[in-house]
């Protein structure tokens, strides 16, 4: 009895369904595509939380024992802008001892003390020092507290130098005038501040960056399963049986590509939802995110398929694909932003699809859907070039 032969698409869907069932059953795709990236995003987010914008504000204690102009200036001119920017939360403590207790208990990340007589010391040209109470458990935030204090001290030193210069050029000026000038200089607000409005809105916050970075990094591993299984079918002998079946030969390749695409899309969407719910990651406009994910998945498929066509067996393909995925992942800034690296490295980052994906997400946060077309087109260009080369070579694999 001869059945009606399957069309290309129906046969491809059947093959993809079979592959997906096997992948779900052996849990490999679940682990590589969802569990590992989710775990790493969680870990990285935990390690780097509190360092950059958008993350939880640093709890900074401040003890102002000085009642002069310099102490008040420190609060008004230095701490207040940082607090308004949401970078720090300022907790005023009455004494250095109470601040130290809170830092040691972990209630505060660090504390800065302005000692009594600080302003007077400045006026008198005597040594004056800000204190920083640190916790060994939070070295990064301690460093930030030291930087804040050092920056203010630097401003004060510049003011002192200015006053000294004025005094040196005005032989008749009285000591009282010099002291008044010094106090006014110390109390003055910083003359200039820089606020990068455009760039800050295009950057992903930590949670979103690590969620997106890990997702697109592991996307390149997840899509391997589909294409590489062509090599497995050949090694297992099932390729011969597929080729003997009354189906278009192209449906075998189609089924494998469909498997890759489905695994890539599903794992990415699960990660988007999971990181949004679990970490509070903000991916941006859902339509734009889906478009970017689809384009990134296609580019990953193209690159991984092309590599597979050069391999003799599935194991070799897996090894080569892993090496390329890691290199592209690092270059594409999935672990840290290579675009800020010096020299040629910052330009090379866009040789990796991952960089375009992350840039697309950043653009999406800054503007409307229309701004992501450049990253999307770049990702599709990767897909077309590498995928085209792969398709031209894939028939070599689909043989007995």
């Amino acid at each position: 009895m001869t059945e009606r032969p399957r069309g290309l698409m129906r046969a491809a869907v059947l093959i993809a369904g079979k592959d997906l069932k096997a992948r779900v059953r052996d849990r490999s795709a679940l682990i590589i595509g969802i569990v590992v990236p989710l775990a790493l995003a969680f870990i990285f987010n935990g390690i780097f939380s509190g360092i950059s914008g958008g993350s939880k504000a640093i709890s900074l204690g401040v003890v102002v024992a000085d009642h002069g102009a310099a102490g008040q200036s420190f609060i008004a001119s230095v701490l207040a802008p940082l607090r308004h920017a949401g970078l720090i939360a300022v907790h005023t403590e009455p004494t250095a001892a109470s601040a130290r207790t809170l830092v040691e208990s972990g209630s505060l990340s660090a504390a800065i003390t302005v000692p009594a007589g600080f302003t007077e010391a400045l006026r008198a040209g005597k040594p004056a020092a800000l204190g920083v109470i640190e916790s060994a458990a939070a070295p990064l935030t301690a460093q930030i507290a030291r930087s804040i204090a050092a920056a203010y001290a630097s401003d004060l030193n510049r003011a002192r130098l200015s006053v000294a210069a004025v005094a040196a050029g005005s032989p008749g000026i009285s000591r009282a005038s010099i002291a008044r000038l010094a106090a006014q200089a110390a109390a003055a607000a910083p003359p200039l501040t820089v606020r990068d409005v455009s760039a800050s809105t295009k950057e992903l916050d930590n949670k979103s960056f690590f969620a997106a970075g890990m997702a697109v990094f592991f996307l390149f591993f997840t899509v391997q399963f589909g294409v590489t299984s062509l090599l497995e079918e050949r090694a297992d002998g099932t390729m011969a049986r597929l080729l003997a079946a009354p189906i278009p030969r192209a449906s075998i390749l189609g089924g494998k590509l469909l498997t890759s695409f489905a695994l890539g899309i599903v794992s990415m969407l699960v990660l988007v939802i999971a990181t949004s719910l679990l970490f509070g990651a903000s991916w941006g406009n859902p339509v734009g995110v889906v478009v970017l994910i689809a384009a990134a998945t296609l580019s990953a498929m193209g690159i991984m398929a092309l590599i597979a066509t050069f391999a003799k067996n599935a194991e070799q393909a897996g090894n080569w694909q892993a090496v390329v995925a890691v290199i592209l992942g690092l270059l594409g800034g999935t672990f840290f932003p290579v675009s800020q690296a010096p020299g040629i490295l910052s330009s090379l980052t866009f040789a990796a699809p991952q960089a375009w994906f992350l840039r697309g997400l950043g653009d999406l946060r800054a503007g409307s859907l229309s701004v992501i077309w450049t990253p999307v087109l770049a990702l599709l260009a990767f897909a077309v070039v590498t995928g085209g080369l792969a398709m031209a070579r894939l028939n070599r694999i689909a043989e007995v």
């Binding site: 009895m1 001869t2 399957r6 002998g237 009354p246």
Partner: protein, 314 residues
């Protein structure tokens, strides 16, 4: 056995680089006929079968299955063909039933029909009670049976089996051979490759002997043996006047040589099966009581040796 060829191969040729793997191979198989392709490893059996099943492009020649031309791209002809590859070709993470349903659906069966057919095949190959278990948990023999069952899903008009008993224990091997014989009895044309002479002799209506890519001889076992002029031998274990009887037997037209050793008369003759009654009658008439008869016909091993100067397993 019907006369209409289910498979026709004409002038098959395939090269791998400079190596001529198959050269001008032609044969045909009728419905209900089992055709054995016999040859040593590397003779070109699998290459031939791969071209027949549409797995491999051919450099020259033609394959027609159930009246439809077979190529690697064709779909219709493949629908009439069941293929059992030499190596196990099944998905270990899927159950036996899932393997069968998947391939049944690839052959165009709707889901319900595919499930029903899978159940039929599971019964046929004796795996119904293990149908839901993953194939990787099966024994070697069970995997072999599933491997064959997958080739039967589409009720093929032509069943192609590529050395299906390689690496199989004697019990499973016997079961496989019995199954193949039953398919032939059901009217399926069977192309069976083997390098086991005994399998070809047991199963095949006709045998093609292939060596170095060439089909060097073809026919029934008897025709092949006759083709190379081999004679049969008959040994009579007997009592009585053995020299006298041997002398009379030696005068028979079809007897070429006689000898007597102890209580046995050994005869070399043509067509022992045909002439055995005359031999027994003559021996009895000349005062010899025959206790047992041993007939030895030249086998395909001998034919292959005669044709190539080498054994099948050299």
């Amino acid at each position: 056995m019907a006369d209409t060829p289910v498979l026709e191969c004409r002038g098959l040729r395939r090269l791998f680089g400079d190596l001529v793997a198959v050269d001008d191979v032609s044969f045909h198989i009728a419905a209900g006929e089992t055709y054995g392709l016999l040859g040593p490893n590397g003779a070109g059996k699998t290459t031939t079968i791969s071209m027949v099943a549409g797995l491999l492009e051919r450099d020259a020649g033609e394959v027609v299955v159930a009246g439809r031309p077979m190529t690697t791209r064709t779909v219709q002809a493949k629908g009439a063909l069941g293929y059992v590859p030499q190596d196990l070709a099944l998905y270990p993470d899927l159950s036996g039933r899932e393997n069968l349903v998947f391939f049944a659906r690839l052959y165009g069966m709707p889901t319900a029909r595919a499930k029903a057919r899978a159940s039929e095949v599971l019964d046929l190959i004796g795996l119904a009670d293990r149908a839901s278990e993953q194939a990787k948990t099966y024994s070697g023999g069970m995997k072999r049976r599933l491997n064959i069952g997958l080739g039967l899903l589409n009720h093929p008009k032509l069943l192609v089996l590529d050395e299906p008993t390689v690496g199989v224990d004697p019990q499973s091997r016997n079961a496989i051979l019995e199954s193949v014989a039953s398919f032939s009895g059901a009217g399926v044309a069977i192309l069976y490759t083997t390098h086991y002479m005994e399998e070809a002799e047991r199963l095949c209506d006709r045998v093609g002997i292939i060596d170095h890519g060439n089909l060097i001889a073809e026919g029934t076992q008897r025709e092949l043996v006759g083709m190379v002029g081999e004679l049969d031998s008959v040994t009579l274990a007997a009592a009585g006047d053995l020299p006298g009887a041997a002398s009379v037997l030696g005068d028979l037209e079809f007897v070429r040589r006689t000898s007597v050793t102890d209580d046995r008369i050994e005869l070399v003759l043509t067509d022992a099966r045909e002439n055995l009654p005359a031999i027994l009658t003559t021996a009895s008439a000349n005062g010899v009581a025959v206790r047992s008869v041993d007939v030895t016909e030249p086998d395909l091993e001998a034919v292959f040796l005669h044709l190539t100067g080498r054994g099948l397993r050299d």
